[in-house]
Amino acid sequence: MSKTPEQPTLKSRTLTLTHEIPISRTKTYWEGLKEGKVFATKCKKCGRVYYPPQVDCPRCLTSDIEWIQLSDGKLETFTQVYLKPQGFTQYEDNYIIAIAETKEGAKIMGWLEEKDVKHASIGMPVKISAKTMPDGFTAIIFKPQNP
């Protein structure tokens, strides 16, 4: 590393950014997670499935949507995170982030319930659910299924 030698610096005043994110229109999704379920939206007019769920269909310009549950998928790709960003360093395990394609044709991100990334493979069938962790955050979980 070509790090420059220690230089004098001035410490800035601390800025704390915590957002209150509106979820009134996607309440079904966030409440579903607490019950262990993962929902996508489907436009009642054109039938398109949206994940991440969106409550407005940009093609039909309609907000007439229904909620559908996603439960089964196949892994499309994955990685195991060793260098965790701020907000995730308290988790001891190096979590595996994966993307799965569901039978409804939606793609979804989740944490693969597997300790060793070497046991994961593309095309591996997974069961999609959600869990609430001890710190109160919820996460989508992919459980490997025997094909």
Binding site: M1, S2, K3, T4, E6, Q7, T9, S12, I21, Y51, P52, E76, T77, F78, T79, Q80, V81, Y82, L83, K84, P85, Q86, G87, F88, T89, Y91, Y95, I97, I99, A106, K107, I108, M109, G110, W111, V117, I122, F137, T138, A139, I140
Partner: protein, 395 residues
């Protein structure tokens, strides 16, 4: 006056008349306006003009790791262009190219005759975890919030899929890092100054499997500045033999990674390069020197393929054959690339043009690529293909 016609629109020709680049690295010795000044001074002296010759200043910076939230006016003030800067441009890691595109369009459309592009980024004033978290918040609500994504994890998702589909190996990825560190060691402005071996990469600690420390670009501070002028202005200034911007192509893709078709290619790269090749009327095989967006080694492999330097899936073979070194088919990232020169987000796109301009002027010393057609290409990606710009230069 010569014009270029694209989609029925006549555009004025635009050339690069001055370039500057600061030393990239952990620059805890300077504030961001001081850092911008380094590249600005060099570019102004290179062009041989003064502040009053510049009509418009476009600042390209992501800026989300700064203590200031509105940095452009303070940069313009510091370099004596306070009354010339109507905007700041942001397109993540492609902010420098987006700023170039903005300035280019202002001249090509006839609105102004000269413009300056200031690409700058300070990333090292916050700690690594904060920087990783800021960078990882590309899709907060549906990705970062639940899963703790980082940029390394995004590109790692592509690496896993590319390796599975095409048999690309960790050794091939490592070879990209070895090449780029080699050229960085010959570039005094690069963040890293040391050569590495395949072993160094393979034995380095895992960041996001399968990507290891040496597969990743560093977190760097840096600036790069470009001065552009119209053909008429060039004549007025008496500039001989400038470097012309033949085309800038653009592309974009979904913000959520889960809405992509696959994870082995960047669609926005294909879109931007097809557009640029069409406007410039050149083919990939005409390009003699390239700067591609190698924020991670897998990104360079995908870029070879998506830009048409080789067939899809054969990027690993291209680096195995040494075709992207000087003397190969398409010398790529001869300045060390993002991987080893460093990747100060807003500066990166401008720094690519800095390097290519100097290559096209035969000013690159022991890193000079032998040229016949004098055609160069810069490929700058924002995030994981959410934005892309491809610029073709010719002298």
């Amino acid at each position: 006056m010569k014009t270029k016609k694209f989609k029925g629109i006549f555009m004025k020709r635009v050339a690069i008349i001055g370039v500057g680049n600061s030393k990239f690295g952990v620059r805890s010795d300077v504030t961001y306006p001081e850092l911008a000044f380094e590249a600005f001074k060099e570019a102004l002296e290179d062009a041989g003009i003064a502040q009053e010759d510049i009509e418009m200043s476009v600042v390209g910076t992501v800026g989300n790791r700064l203590y200031d939230m509105y940095p452009a006016p303070l940069i313009n003030e510091y370099i004596g262009l306070a009354s010339k800067g109507p905007l700041r441009v942001e397109a993540a890691c492609a902010s420098g190219s987006a700023a170039l595109f903005t300035a280019y369009n202002a001249i090509a459309s006839g609105r102004v005759e000269t413009a300056i592009v200031i690409g700058v980024e300070k990333m090292c004033e916050v700690d690594t975890q904060t920087s990783t978290a800021v960078g990882g918040r590309g899709c907060y609500l549906w990705e970062f919030h639940m899963f703790g994504t980082s940029f390394a994890s995004y590109y790692a998702l592509f690496a896993t899929a590319h390796m599975a589909k095409y048999g690309t190996t960790e050794e091939q990825l490592a070879k990209v890092a070895v090449k780029n560190h080699y050229y960085a060691s010959k570039n005094p402005k690069a963040h890293f100054q040391k050569e590495i071996t395949i072993e160094t990469v393979l034995k380095s600690r895992v960041i996001c499997w399968p990507l290891k420390l040496y597969d990743c670009c560093p977190i760097s501070d840096g600036s790069a500045v470009l001065i552009l002028a119209s053909e008429e202005k060039i004549k007025d200034l008496g500039v001989q033999d400038p470097v012309w911007i033949e085309a800038i192509g653009f592309g974009s893709d979904t913000g959520s990674l889960t809405r992509r078709g696959d994870y082995t290619s960047l669609k926005s790269t294909r879109m931007a390069s097809e557009m640029a090749y069409k406007i410039a009327k050149v083919k990939p095989e005409d390009v003699e020197v390239a700067e591609v967006h190698d924020c991670f080694t897998i990104a360079e492999i995908m870029a070879y393929e998506d830009l048409g330097f080789c067939k899809k899936g054969e990027g690993g073979k291209l680096i195995d054959e040494g075709q992207t070194w000087i003397g190969g088919k398409i010398p790529t990232n001869i300045d060390g690339g993002l991987k080893a020169k460093g990747h100060p987000l807003g500066a990166t796109g401008c720094s690519m043009i800095y390097e290519l301009t100097r290559q096209l002027r035969n000013e690159s010393g022991d890193r000079q690529v032998p040229l016949k057609k004098y055609i160069a290409l810069a490929h700058n990606v924002g995030m994981t293909g959410q934005y892309c710009y491809v610029t073709i230069l010719r002298r």
